[in-house]
């Protein structure tokens, strides 16, 4: 589990990752920086449509684009994905820690009930 400000970013990341085209774009960018036309090549999709996907990825902080230059290649920024992974691995730890505490509480409840019975 994580803090509230982080979870806002997490939902942005989830939203950006929800689309298969955007996931494919990210997968391509793991192999190196690329221009819009390079990224568009594998898809049956117009350049503006690919640009719109890039914009979503940029807003989620998953992709950074060079400010200068004619081709403005896109670059992957993996830190939000790392955050998703950390959040996810926290989930299991959260439950394991909570449930073993629950074991202790249940033992106490049993003992308390037994005490009550003996005093009745």
């Amino acid at each position: 589990m994580t803090t509230a400000p982080t979870t806002d970013r997490l939902s942005l990341t989830f939203g950006a990752l929800a689309d298969p085209t955007r996931r494919a774009i990210l997968a391509r960018l793991t192999k190196g920086d690329a221009t819009v036309s390079t990224l568009a090549a594998p898809f049956d999709m117009s350049l503006p449509a690919v640009s719109r996907h890039l914009k979503v990825l940029e807003q989620a902080g998953l992709v950074a684009r060079a400010r200068e230059g004619k081709w403005r290649p896109s670059r992957l920024d993996a830190s939000p994905i790392r955050e998703v992974a950390e959040w996810a691995s926290g989930y299991r730890r959260f439950w394991e820690a909570s449930l073993s505490k629950l074991d202790e509480v249940l033992e106490d409840m049993k003992a308390e009930e037994k005490n009550d019975d003996e005093h009745d």
């Binding site: 509230a4 997490l10 449930l99």
Partner: protein
Amino acid sequence: MTSMTSPAFRVVGQGDREIVMTREFNAPRRHVFDAWTKPALVERWFGRRDGWHTKAEIDLRPGGIYRFKLREETTGREIVLRGEYREIVPPERIVSAEAFEGFSETGWRPEDATISTMVFTEREGRTTWTATQLYPSTEVRDAVLSDPNMQTGTTMSLRVLDAVLRELR
């Protein structure tokens, strides 16, 4: 089906949007049910880790709200799990819609909520707790399941997460 098995606690994906957690407890189910529905008991275990404290508010009736506020003493960080009860059958079953507050910019919204169905079954004095969580999307469900410790890497749909995590190692 993806699965992770430890001696007692199991977490498995089910269908496109569900996670099913199971755990056995050496206690009758009326105790396990109480431990989930009485604030003083919830506060003793839910979200309790080193330095973290829990405050629970529970209005146990269909349509009633519960809030489990987890607070880290040293940093003041707070996480609030908020839910609304949909169905309560003591000591067998609790259905609710829940979400962490602050998960979206617009605050707590029912459409972000996870539908949680908890079933308590008792056998020979032991209770099996089964919690089925229906997530708002496959992506969120997969991200929750994508924990490397859960050994689900090959089957999850967020393959890009895999690829990127490999790059980072």
